[in-house]
């Protein structure tokens, strides 16, 4: 259970988040959407205590993160960022083993290795075990990073645009993994850009603009043309998608005319 109460955060005197309150429970996928610079990444940094809040509290299973050390937080919360590039020739297994960092004292145990193997099985990366991380495709790399997050045995999984830069197959692949993790009892909070994928995968959506929460609720409640226009300054049509049983958001654009004649 993740509970954010009246959270304000920022860098120096600049407030990036103001008075945010969000609750997320086990089994839920909570999407955080909003334009660039609306404070989505800052929110994730504050939840993991990488950034100290200006005011407000973050509770993980009822415990204030102020009272937790960084290793304790890393045992509860795992973060998957945008596809990162790793330029050092570690093997895939080494990278996943890094997920055990908050648990390892001295050197890794058999239990650590088993958990690492299990995380790789779940993410379908076990066959990459001995490959160098520098030789993977974007989709493979992101699955390895998710395996690393699973190896942390977290209660809460935070994702920061986990599917940007990935092709459509890999996007679906990654989000299915995440959805399954939620079904098995994790709290998932995902910063997303693709409103249609958010509509399909999220149980709850938080819409941010300029650091303020302007709407929270189910996709049906949040993804309305007026809300989206308020947040993104763009006119959209929202139509029910009968195939996926979710919503479909289409920007209203003027037809482009062929000027070449």
């Amino acid at each position: 259970m993740l509970e954010i109460r009246d959270l304000s955060a920022g860098y120096g005197h600049r407030h990036v988040l103001e008075q945010i309150s969000i609750k997320a429970s086990e089994g839920e996928v909570v999407g955080v959407i909003g334009p660039n610079g609306s404070g989505k990444t800052t929110l994730l940094k504050t939840i993991t205590k990488v950034l100290e809040p200006i005011s407000g509290t973050v509770l993980i299973d009822g415990t204030n993160i102020d009272e937790m050390q960084s290793t304790q937080i890393a045992k509860k919360v795992a973060v998957v960022s945008q596809v990162i590039s790793i330029n050092f020739e570690f093997t895939v297994e080494d990278i996943v083993l890094m997920g055990r960092t908050p648990y390892i004292k001295g050197s890794e145990t058999v239990e650590d290795i088993n958990i690492v193997r299990d995380a790789m099985e779940k993410t379908n990366t076990i066959f990459l075990k001995d490959r160098l991380i520098t030789q993977l495709s974007g989709g493979e790399l992101q699955r390895v990073i998710i395996a690393r997050a699973f190896a942390q045995n977290p209660k809460i999984l935070l994702l920061d645009e986990p599917t940007s830069h990935l092709d459509i197959t890999n996007q679906i692949d990654i989000l299915n993994l995440v959805k399954n993790a939620a079904k098995k009892g994790m709290v998932v909070v995902a910063v997303m850009h693709d409103l249609n994928l958010a509509a399909y995968y999220c149980d709850k959506i938080c819409l941010l603009r300029d650091g303020k929460l302007i709407s929270v609720g189910t996709p049906d409640q949040v993804l309305t043309p007026s809300n989206i226009e308020r947040a993104f300054n763009i006119a959209v049509e929202v139509i029910p998608n009968d195939i996926t049983n979710s919503l479909y958001v289409i920007p209203v654009l003027e037809p482009l005319h062929d000027t070449l004649h």
Binding site: T48, V50, K75, F90, G99, P102
Partner: protein, 355 residues
């Protein structure tokens, strides 16, 4: 792909032992390697007996009665040359090489910068200024160069500190700035000094002042510093993914930076204070080992330590034997051998070595 790590460490350890013995045998007075080995074994055996003699006098007396020593087939002067002149020098070379290479490896990992070496944040300039002052004012050189290096790292660290954090870029830049300032003072001292040669030779790096006292003092600091640095191997691995990623995995990155900097500074200052500024070992050996064993500091650290020791032992022997009755500063030799070999590796690999 199996990891070559542990076997490489084992081979390097054997190589170091072989290098110490064979290089103790080499010198202007020729003493064969087997005699050298016999003298070394006897000396080690004697010092062990000396220690046990204090703890178990009667047992030791019985052992001595049996006279278990190797038959003495060498002269007293050979024994003195081996045990009091060459051995401390070879051991000091091994210690200094190990220290510079390990510290270089730590700095490259911490700063994620391929140009990093133990001297990068100004330590060598601080040590050089300390040594120059000591030469001019007739103070103990070893002590002042050590203090100079330690003060410099302290100053650089505090200049770089912004709100409790030390950004790596700022650390690099302030190190270069402080280093240049101190180097200017050193040049000034050389310019106005009546006998600048001493300072210039010291700056080139050499081990000709080796003695058992120096081995004892530096070995404590260097071995302690290196072993504690090994404890940060895993944290440095994780930090290679980026500082933010490392924080998400629960690593206190500022604490790691502080410890790694202090420990690298300690071993580097200890090395420089007895050897002057020996270049290239701390830059090139970690790179070469990274090519061979990969970026995992749990293997890379000990591999760099051992290879650094072997390399400097070989270079030092070369520098004291290549020209009759003249000693080349070993810093010249390390650069002359190290740089071309490194260029060869760079070309052979044909891809970026680092990040």
């Amino acid at each position: 792909m199996a990891k070559p790590g542990k076997s490489v460490i084992f081979i390097l350890a054997l190589l170091l032992i072989a290098a110490v013995i064979s290089n103790t045998a080499i010198g202007s007075t020729s003493i064969s390697p087997d005699v050298t080995a016999k003298i070394l074994v006897t000396k080690i055996f004697e010092s062990i007996l000396e220690m046990t003699g204090k703890i178990f006098p009667s047992v030791t007396a019985n052992i001595l009665m049996a006279n278990p020593f190797i038959e003495k087939t060498w002269t007293d002067s050979q024994e003195v040359i081996i045990s009091d002149i060459r051995l401390p020098r070879v051991l000091l070379a091994a210690l200094v090489g190990a220290a510079l290479s390990t510290a270089g490896c730590a700095m490259q990992g911490l700063l994620k910068n391929p140009m990093a070496d133990p001297y990068i944040i100004g330590m060598s300039s601080g040590a050089a200024l300390g040594a120059s002052l000591a030469f001019v004012m007739l103070l103990p050189v070893q002590f002042l160069s050590f203090i100079g290096a330690v003060i410099t790292i302290f100053v650089v660290y505090n200049i770089s500190k912004i709100g409790g954090k030390v950004p790596v870029d700022t650390l690099l830049l302030s190190g270069i700035a402080v280093g240049s300032l101190l180097a200017a003072f050193t040049s000034l001292i050389i310019f106005i000094s009546h006998s600048p040669h001493q300072i210039i030779f010291w700056l080139m790096g050499g081990l000709w002042t080796a003695s058992w006292d120096k081995v004892k003092i530096t070995s404590v600091m260097i071995i302690f510093g290196i072993l504690v640095l090994y404890r940060f191997a895993w944290s440095l691995n994780v930090m290679l993914l980026g500082e933010e990623q490392a924080q998400y995995l629960g690593i206190n990155i500022e604490q790691v930076k502080r410890y790694v900097l202090v420990l690298s500074a300690l071993v580097t200052a200890a090395a420089v204070s007895v050897s002057g500024i020996i270049g290239f070992v701390g830059l090139i050996i970690p790179h070469i080992m990274r090519i061979i064993v990969g970026p995992d500091h749990r293997i890379l650290f000990p591999a760099s330590t051992l290879m650094g020791a072997v390399f400097l032992v070989l270079c030092d022997t070369f520098s004291r034997t290549i020209i009759d009755s003249v000693e080349l500063p070993v810093g010249i030799v390390t650069a002359m051998f190290g740089a071309p070999f490194f260029i060869y590796l760079l070309r052979k690999r044909r891809q970026s070595l680092y990040a």
